[in-house]
Symmetry: C2
DNA sequence: CAGCCGATGTACATCGATGTAAAACCGAGC
DNA sequence: GCTCGGTTTTACATCGATGTACATCGGCTG
């Protein structure tokens, strides 16, 4: 009736509990016969290890958390899929947590959810400040996605500044002069939006186009309604851009809709480009040009870095004492991106 | 240096470990002074409970799993957001797991991920059969979303058959006669697609339109590319529908794109309606009519049912013996849906 | 045949938090 | 002064799996 314990298996197989444990953990010195008998007992009783006991003993759960601002921003959902795939390779289970772009939630995540049961955290911060990241003693190993907020934490991202510069450069190369940056932010922050805005400004400078702070359209969040609203407002104010650099695809998709409602043709009147290469942009009308980060690489690198940190922290695969050997210096990894040109900028998709 | 344990707090506060535990768990009979002293010690040491120990003792983790086929199908991402919100109310943490619509993964999820660390599971099955659900001794409490696969499990869904009947009826009411069902399936299965197909057939029957099995366009999965492909193929074969019932919004969005590419006007030539009311459909060109399930209600009911089952299984909030009192009969809950009419069917959105 | 070695298997302590049962304490009432 | 009832607090066992240290076994060598 009740879930069988390791001791039930032991009794059933006529061996000691430790031997069962050895079989489960593929310990080398177990005779084939014993191994078979134990396996059968496990099978018959439908035994499955209790993670609580193992965790208590080993200090590891095999669970890592992926913390993203919003799951229903498709970029994060797509990224999650890759992270899950990568983690599976290392037999890690991924717990996905949504912070709601809320500083309190992100902090809670950093602290390991007020308790301890994740071995590590992959965090895509939106609302955190560098201060939050300092002094997090006792928190589990962490890898950050997106801009580097603070020296001292591992970090994976595309070169957002360069990407934005290329994207903006592409728009300018089409002959556009009035490029608005939807979601652009000029403040001192260290986030992704700020980096992309820097790239945008750099591209303008490259082309000798003066920068107008009013060309940054602020948004509440990075979702379709915000993009649509921001663009509708700009058009309503009589502004007549000939191109939009949208800081993510959701904003861009919202912008496409707003442009459509105002009778503005894309790309003839206004060219639009986004970031993230989400699926929606491949099926929108018109299809959306975008900066495509290598999501699989982001996920791969993030999981690998985290894996290393975890081993560093708890000793290779569960040794009692955390052998403080060669502590890795914080890693700062840049992964590839490419410009994908579709109908919204009149280009042809390169393959 | 190392993370403090409960005994460190006890020593620091000059009380016993159990007293610290009592403070943490808000046990009634602790003097205010003791409580304060312990709180301070916890604060000073930065103590946080170790979930492994608690889990081992209490048999509960406070974690529930939400298992969905694909996270990057926005419906599931949006649903996840609601589930997380609901679970938070009950101080449950949600672990999201992606099954990849893969039977093996779904089975693993059902079994509690080959181990035990979730208190319960909310599962949105795609590939499971009724057989898989029978005889799952030892598995954690489970609530199913979507069609009822098997008596004996709790289950939450909209009335898919009725919804499909209404949606199809709406198309027919627009004067359309040739309604294709994208993603429709006529086999004996018990899934959501089958229920919606039944509703589709019922609506045809209501209107005295003969049913043609060829009107069901099969799809590999329920995503934009599949919808686009299926519709492109149908058009390529010379079929000339005047309406499409797409079994989810992703298929519909893909269909919109395919229609656009074939120069077919929506809704003038072809009316399109989907299911799920995802955000993408509110910003597509044209905007997408859809069957909107009350996602918040789905999440609320699912979490409540699960919560009950968990308490039933482990005793209210952690009593040692699972008091097998009044076992609840399996619940079968229907939540509301409504038709949201947008540009793709020429209607006006009701509020 | 004694002695030794490597390969297997076992008893027991241990990880951290909490339930149980009982001790310590405190004030009231006789 | 002493008992009684109730409140606080504590010692200890316990949850399940696994690391440690040791026992056992069989075979092989000298």
């Amino acid at each position: 009736m009740a879930r069988p314990r390791i001791k039930d298996v032991a009794r059933h197989a006529g061996v000691s509990e430790k031997t069962v444990s050895n079989v489960i953990n593929d310990y080398a010195h177990v005779s084939d016969r014993t191994r078979r008998v134990v396996r059968e007992a496990i099978e018959q009783l439908g035994y499955r290890v209790n993670l609580a006991g193992r965790h208590l003993r080993k200090g590891r759960t095999g669970i890592i958390a992926l913390v993203v601002p919003e799951l229903d921003i498709p970029y994060f959902a797509e990224l999650a899929r890759h992270v899950i795939r990568e983690a599976e390779q290392c037999s890690l289970t991924v717990l996905i947590h949504q912070s709601g772009a809320d500083r309190a939630h992100e902090l809670a995540a950093l602290a390991g959810f007020g308790s301890t049961f994740v071995d590590g955290i992959i965090l895509s911060p939106l609302a955190l400040t560098a201060d939050d990241l300092r002094d997090r003693a006792g928190a589990p190993p962490t890898v950050l996605l997106g801009e580097l907020l603070e020296e001292g934490a591992d970090h994976v991202a595309i070169d957002n500044e360069r990407a934005a510069r290329e994207a903006t450069g592409h728009l300018i190369g089409l002959g556009r002069r009035t490029v608005l940056a939807v979601g652009g932010r000029d403040d001192a922050g260290l986030g992704t939006a700020e980096a992309r805005t820097r790239g945008y400004r750099a591209a303008l400078a490259d082309a000798g186009i003066p920068y107008d702070p009013a060309a940054l359209l602020p948004v509440g969040s990075f979702r379709m309604p915000d993009g649509a609203e921001a663009v509708a407002r700009a058009l309503g104010e009589g502004r007549r851009p000939d191109a939009l650099l949208c800081l993510n695809d959701q904003l861009a998709l919202g912008a496409l809709r707003a442009l459509h409602e105002h009778g503005v043709r894309v790309p003839e009147d206004v060219a639009v480009i986004g970031f993230d290469d989400v699926e929606g942009g491949r099926f929108s009308v018109p299809t959306l040009s975008t900066v495509a980060p290598d999501k699989a690489a982001v996920a791969r690198v993030a999981v690998q870095l985290l894996q290393r940190r975890i081993e560093e922290a708890t000793g290779p695969a569960g040794t009692s004492d955390g052998a403080e050997s060669g502590v890795l210096s914080p890693q700062d990894r840049i992964v590839a991106h490419r410009l994908v040109l579709r109908e919204s900028t009149e280009g042809h998709e390169r393959r």
